[in-house]
Structure formats: C-alpha cells, structure tokens
C-alpha cells in the first residue's frame, strides 16, 4: 500500500567506502529501507559517523549505493539536480557574489529568463526575511542570515525534496529557534518533502512528521517514531512538559546511547 504513495524510496541500500579489489572497505550504511511520502518531514538522528550525511548524499546524487536502490518517483537517482536541494552545515555561500546573485545562482546556471529570476529571487528574499540585503556580500552576514541565504538559494528552484544536513547546529539557540520557525512557516506554505539531519532531539520532535534513529556505523535504522498525530502549532511549548514527549525524548536518547 505504501509502495504506491512513496515519493522517495530506499530499497535495501548499503554503502561501502573505498572497497577496492579484495580489501574490506568501510561500511557506512547497511540494509536501509525507507519510504518517504510526498510532503513528509523526516528527521534523521544518530551518533556521529553513522552515515547520516552519506544517506543525504545518496538522495542528492553525489554518491551511489553499493547495494540496493534509491529511487525518486520510481526512478533511480543518477545525478544531482535542482529538484533536490541541499543545505549544508556550513552555508557554503559564494563569497564573490552578493546575496541576490547567490540566490539566483541555480536559476542563472540553468538559463532561466532574467525577469523571472528577479521576480522569484525577490519573492524568496521577502519570505526568508532577507529583503534589503540584496547587495550584501555573504561574508558580512551573521550565521543565521547565511543559512537563510543558503535556504533561499535552494528553495528558489522549487525543489521536490529538501535535504538539510545539520543546518542549524552551528547557530546560537535563539537564532536556531528562529530558523526552525522559518522552516516551519515555509513548510506550511508550500509542502516540500524534507530530510533533516540533526543532533538535537527536541528539534526533531518539534519539526518532524517522522523520526528515524540510526545505530552507530554501519548505520541502520534502530527506531522509528511517527509524530503525524500531533499538531504542529502547539508542539514546541509542550515539548518539555508533555509526558508523552518526555517519554519519546528518553526513548530516542536511550536508543542513540545504547547503540553508540
């Protein structure tokens, strides 16, 4: 039944790095099967080095499975593309371009018409609270602003899937919360399918429809928590107090520490 719904599918995926000739290689992911449906927000939690970034790289098309298949809309992922946007932990902004040109980069590379670029970039700068910063060089922005640019740069291409690799972990708590609110607002406005890697259990509980917990390397899924029953708007304030949330927090914590 879920087979037909899934937008993004991992089918018994394993990744081994540096397997040359007879050598063992490094097993990063083992036997991963996931179905992600359209518009779903999935958070990935797990100990450092368990292969979370590797998993995102598979979806982005930077990397390919050693075994198994990764399919998007039923088709194998063969190369990177603007239908899958990636936001990295470091904002990786292009310092030689101003903020506007950073956000316009993908559209320019793909030869979108000038007028349309201007319209779309302006719209996203407004949405992400960057209005007025068009001419700024990225290196003069604060960490939070940089991630806003990185997010806009990806969203302006209207991706089906948004991949985020610990995008807020380098930010201070207040800015992080601001960015989480922004992400939530954007998500409410126009659903895209999101895979977000985080080390912050509360962040995952607050944002996710579903949380996948990974074991230490070689990474495989050890726990899966479905949060779709819980409404978005009132969750953050309750997270700390609600008994079921505290229980979930503990369950994830235990899973991560036990398998670390």
């Amino acid at each position: 039944m879920e087979e037909t719904e899934a937008l993004l599918q991992f089918d018994r995926v394993s990744v081994v790095f540096g397997k040359a000739g007879g050598s063992e290689g490094l097993q990063a992911l083992t036997d991963i099967s996931i179905n992600v449906s359209d518009g779903e927000f999935v958070c990935l939690l797990g100990p450092s080095g368990c292969g979370k970034s590797t998993l995102l790289n598979l979806v982005a098309g930077f990397l390919f499975p050693t075994e198994g298949r990764v399919t998007l809309n039923g088709e194998d992922v063969k190369q990177p593309g603007p239908d899958r946007g990636m936001v990295f932990q470091e904002p990786t902004l292009y310092n030689w371009l101003n903020v506007f040109d950073n956000i316009a980069f993908g559209l320019r590379m793909r030869g979108v018409a000038k007028a349309e670029i201007k319209e779309r970039v302006s719209r996203f700068m407004e949405l992400t609270g960057l209005k007025g910063f068009e001419q700024y060089p990225p290196y003069e922005l604060s960490g939070g602003m940089k991630q806003r640019v990185a997010l806009s740069r990806v969203l302006v291409s209207d991706p089906k899937v948004l991949l985020m690799d610990e995008p807020f972990s380098a930010l201070d708590p207040a800015t992080r919360q601001e960015m989480q609110n922004l992400l939530e607002a954007l998500q409410n406005r126009r659903k895209c399918t999101i895979l977000l890697v985080t080390h912050d259990i509360n962040e995952a509980l607050y944002l996710a429809d579903r949380i996948l917990v990974f074991s230490a390397r070689p990474g495989h899924i050890i726990d899966e928590i479905d949060l779709r029953g819980i409404s978005f708007t009132d969750r953050r304030s309750e997270i700390i107090e609600r008994p079921d949330m505290t229980a979930l927090h503990k369950r994830i914590m235990d899973a991560v520490t036990q398998h670390a």
Partner: protein, 260 residues
C-alpha cells in the same frame, strides 16, 4: 585604540632598526672598521646614486635600466599568469590532466635558472626573448602549483552545492572553482613575481646592455662597489613597492579572502 598604538609602536621599532643599520654602516666606514674599497660609505653610495640618476649608467638613464628590467619581468609575469592559472586550475580539477602537467612542473621548479639559461640563449638568441622566457620559467611554477593545490582544496560541499543547483562541470569550474581559488591564485602570483625578481640578475647576465641586473653585474666587472650598492638598494626598494601594490590589488579583488 590599543591596536592602533601597537601598530604605531611596531612601525617605530622597524624605523629604529633601519636607522641602526645605517648608523652602523656609517660608523663602520667612517671609523675605518672596514675597507671602504670593499664597503663603500653611505655618502659614496649616495653620490653614485646622484651620478647615475643625473648622468645615467653606460649610455642608459637609470629609469631606462629599471624600465628595461621591469618590462621583461612584466611580460614574463603576464605570460606565466596566462599559462599557469588555467593549466594549474585545470590540472587540479581534472586529475588526469594533472598527471600530465604536474610532473613537468615539479621537474622544472627546483632547477636553478642558470642551469638552462645557456640553452635558451642558444635556441632563442641573444635578444630579449631568451631573457623573457627565462623569467617566465621562473614565474610559472609558483603560479601553477598554487592554482593546482587550491583547486584540489575546494571543499566537496562547495562543489556539490553548485552541482545540486544545476551547474554543469564547465559552469562549476568557471563560476565556483575559479573564484574559490582566486585568493590563493593571487598569493601564488605574488610569490611568482618575487621569484621572477630574484631571477632578474641571472636573466641579464648574458648579452644584455640594459637592465638593473645588468648594471649590477657590469659594476662588478669594473669594481664599482658603490654602483652595486645603488643597484641593490633600487632592486630592494622597487621589490617592496611592487609587493605592496600587488597586496593592494589583492585586497581589492578578493575582499573575502580568509573570511568564512
């Protein structure tokens, strides 16, 4: 405020050091600590400078000598940049191309220019060409090496971010890699200018009749130690001046250098 003060103090220390060297030099020559036929006094050097400045040295004015040298160096430097930047960056970007050029440059780099200068003269004649090519060979390796190394150091996330936004390999190279490497490239160019500068005297050893390096060599043959001193001072000071100008250019072109 205190940073400004610290800077001022350091400038004072530098000025005092220079003054000390001159005073020592003056005392050594005027009190007879050294033979003034071997070490000319500051006054004698100054007189030689005025003499060359007003009367020129062997049929050429001082500016003509300096111009001849800098002209050769500038042509060689531009040639080395036009060759070294694309070759270095492409070699770093495409490892197979690097396999062609890197060993060649590595072979050339440690060779003292004088080792092959005679061959260049035999092949290219006694004119300016052999001198320019010699300087070009001196300038090329630092630029090539800096570019190739910088290209290899571009973080995978940067390249991946651009690829995910839809940039082709060509666009990735021209719009991301090139600019990302620009700060290191300019540093490499500055190094190359320095190396070229130190090679000037060698380049003007054979069959030259002008040039500041030739002037020093000719003064050696005529035991004009005062002229040697003048030449050395001029080379040292113009070297510092050019390096200062190149730094200014660097600041203008890559204001983001060293910033995240």
């Amino acid at each position: 405020m205190s940073e400004k003060r610290e800077r001022f103090i350091r400038i004072c220390i530098t000025a005092a050091t220079i003054l000390c060297v001159f005073v020592l030099w003056f005392l050594a020559t005027s009190l007879g600590w050294v033979n003034t036929r071997l070490v000319p006094s500051p006054g004698a050097v100054w007189n030689a400078f005025i003499e060359i400045l007003t009367g020129g040295y062997k049929n050429n004015t001082l500016l003509a000598h300096l111009g001849a040298s800098l002209g050769r160096l500038l042509i060689a430097f531009c040639g080395a940049t036009l060759l070294g930047v694309p070759l270095g960056m492409l070699s770093g970007f495409h490892p197979r191309l690097g396999a062609v050029f890197e060993p060649l440059v590595e072979f050339f780099r440690p060779l003292p220019p004088l080792a092959y200068y005679v061959l260049l003269v035999l092949w290219l004649g006694l004119g300016n060409e052999s001198k320019i090519v010699l300087l070009l060979f001196a300038c090329l390796p630092p630029i090539f090496v800096a570019c190739a190394a910088a290209t290899k150091r571009v973080p995978a996330d940067y390249k991946n971010s651009a690829r995910a936004l839809g940039a082709s390999q060509r666009q990735l190279f021209l719009h991301i890699v090139f600019f990302y490497c620009l700060p290191d490239t300019l540093t490499g160019m500055r190094t190359a200018f320095g190396v070229g500068y130190t090679t000037l005297v060698s380049a003007e050893m054979v069959a030259a009749l002008s040039g500041i390096g030739w002037m020093v060599l000719d003064a050696q043959r005529n035991m004009r130690n005062d002229v040697i001193f003048v030449g050395i001072f001029i080379m040292g000071l113009t070297g510092i001046l050019i390096d200062f100008l190149l730094r200014r250019v660097e600041k203008r072109l890559v204001p983001w250098a060293g910033k995240a």
